[in-house]
C-alpha cells in the first residue's frame, strides 16, 4: 500500500516512528519507497538520526545517583501512612457506632455501671430485630387471616401486607424518639466546633456529607449528631430541641429506596415527614403540628442539597 503513504506528505512524526521501529511492516515499506529519490525527506531523516543519543547509558548514571536510603525511608513513610489510613477507616466505623450508643445510654442514667451500660449497649443494637420480626409476623397473620376469612381462592397478597424496610425503619425511629424527653438532650455539647466535628464524623460513617447548615435551623436548637444502627446500616440521628422543650430528630439511613417526595404520616403518636433521595431515606419526627414539622423538614431538605 505504498500509494497511501505516497499520497500524503510524510510527517516528522512518521519519520521518528520509522527511526524508533514503531511503524508496521507495510508502513515501513512505503516510507522507504518514499525516501527513494526524495532528498529533502532523507535530510530530515538524517537530522532526526543526529538527534539520537545513548539515552539508556546516560540515564543509567542518574539511576546510580538515587538517594536509596532516603527513598526507602520515603516508601516506609508512605506504607506507614497507608496502614494508619486503613486502621482509621475501620476504627471510625466501629467506634462511631459503639461509642455513640454507649454515650447516649450513659446520658440517660449517669449512675449506671459500665457492665450495665454494656448490657444496654447490646440491647440497643439488637432491639430493632424483635420489633421487625414482630411487625412482619403480625402483618403476615393479618394477611393470611383476611385471606381465610373471605374464603376466596386467590392467595393473600403477602408482599403488600408485609411492611417495607423503610416503614419498619420509620416505625423504629418513631418508637425510639417517643422515649426522648427534653432532659435526654440537656447534656449535649453546644460548642460549635465540637458540633461541626460531630456532623463530619457522622456524615463519614453514613457515607453522606452533612453540611454545617443542618445544625442552623431557625426555631430549632441543634443539640448533637450520632450514629445508631438499623440492621447493618449506619443510621444518622441529628437531635434538636424545639422551644427548649420538644425533642425533634432528623434521621437518615441508606435503604436504596427510589426517590420519593416528602410525605406525612403518624407513628407512635408522633408526626413524621419522610422522603427519599439518591438512595438515602430521610425523616423528621417529633411531637409538633404537621405544618410546623413540614416547614422544618423543607428547610432541612434544602440544606442537604
Amino acid at each position: 500500500m505504498t500509494s497511501e503513504v505516497n499520497s500524503r506528505p510524510v510527517t516528522d512524526e512518521m519519520l521518528v516512528a520509522y527511526v524508533d521501529g514503531e511503524l508496521t511492516q507495510n508502513e515501513r515499506t512505503s516510507l522507504e519507497a518514499a525516501l527513494e529519490g526524495n532528498q529533502e525527506l532523507r535530510a530530515r531523516l538524517a537530522l532526526l538520526q543526529d538527534g539520537d543519543r545513548p539515552w539508556a547509558e546516560a540515564f543509567e548514571g542518574l539511576l546510580d545517583q538515587a538517594p536509596v536510603a532516603e527513598l526507602e525511608a520515603a516508601f516506609a513513610a508512605a506504607a506507614h501512612t497507608h496502614a494508619e489510613q486503613i486502621q482509621a477507616n475501620q476504627a471510625r466505623a466501629d467506634h462511631a457506632r459503639a461509642d455513640q450508643a454507649r454515650a447516649e445510654l450513659v446520658q440517660a442514667d449517669p449512675t449506671e455501671t459500665t457492665d450495665q451500660v454494656a448490657a444496654k449497649d447490646d440491647a440497643a443494637r439488637s432491639w430493632w430485630r424483635p420489633a421487625m420480626a414482630a411487625c412482619i409476623a403480625v402483618t403476615l397473620m393479618v394477611g393470611f387471616a383476611a385471606g381465610y376469612g373471605t374464603n376466596q381462592v386467590q392467595k393473600p397478597d403477602i408482599m403488600a401486607a408485609v411492611q417495607t424496610e423503610a416503614e419498619i425503619w420509620r416505625q423504629a425511629v418513631a418508637d425510639y424518639q417517643a422515649l426522648y424527653t427534653r432532659e435526654t438532650l440537656s447534656t449535649a455539647q453546644t460548642d460549635p466546633i465540637a458540633q461541626s466535628a460531630g456532623l463530619l464524623r457522622v456524615g463519614e460513617a453514613l457515607g453522606l456529607a452533612l453540611p454545617d447548615a443542618v445544625s442552623q435551623v431557625a426555631g430549632l436548637d441543634y443539640k448533637r449528631a450520632q450514629i445508631l444502627k438499623f440492621g447493618e446500616q449506619p443510621l444518622a440521628q441529628l437531635a434538636y430541641l424545639y422551644q427548649d422543650d420538644i425533642p425533634i430528630a432528623f434521621c437518615i439511613v441508606r435503604l436504596d429506596e427510589a426517590d420519593q417526595a416528602a410525605t406525612n404520616e403518624v407513628r407512635s403518636g408522633l408526626n413524621i415527614v419522610h422522603w427519599a433521595k439518591d438512595g438515602f431515606s430521610l425523616m423528621v419526627v417529633g411531637d409538633l403540628p404537621v405544618e410546623e414539622l413540614n416547614a422544618f423538614a423543607r428547610e432541612l431538605e434544602g440544606k442537604m442539597i
Binding site: 512524526e13 521518528v16 538520526q49 543526529d50 543519543r53 539515552w55 540515564f59 538517594p67 520515603a74 489510613q85
Partner: protein, 178 residues
Amino acid sequence: MTDTRQNPVKSGLPELLSRLWRFAMVLSHNEEIAGDLVQATCLRALQRSEQFQEGTHLDRWTFSIMASLWKNELRAERIRRGGGFVDAEEVLVSDGAEKIETNILLTEVLAEVQALPEAQRSAVLLVYVEGLTYAEAAATLEVPIGTIMSRLAAARFKLAALRRAEDGGPRRQVKTGQ
C-alpha cells in the same frame, strides 16, 4: 482487607524506587521535590493497590500514577517554589556529577535532555530510557500517541541542532515547542 504480604504493589515498589526517583527528577529537576513525588506516588499506589492487575507491569502502572500526580498536584507546587517558573539551573547532573565525570559524553547527554521542555523530557525518558512503546508512553502520560511522536521528533531535532551548531555544520531552525 487485603493481606499486605500478598499485596504485589507493596512488595514490588521497593525495587522500583530508584527508577521512580529518576522519573521524578526528569519531571521536577529538583531533588527535594523528587523525593516528595516518590513518596506521594508510593502512597497513592498503595491506596489504589486493589486496582492493580497482577501480571501487568507494576513499573508502568506506577509511572502513570506519578505522571498524574505531577500533572495535577505537584507541578503547581514546584512552580510556586520556583517563583513562577521552573528553572533549568538545578540540574540532573548536579550532585552526582563527579561520579560520572569519567564519561563526559554521557554527562552531556543528561545536560542536553535537561534543557528540553518538560513534556519532551518525559517522553524521552519513558520511550528511550524506560523502553515503553509509543502507546504505553501515551497511556502513561494521558496524551494521544501523536503527541508522543511530535515530542520525540521535536526533542531529536533540538539535539541534532545542538550537535550541528557545535560541529560548526549547517544550522537549521527547529521549533521545539511542546
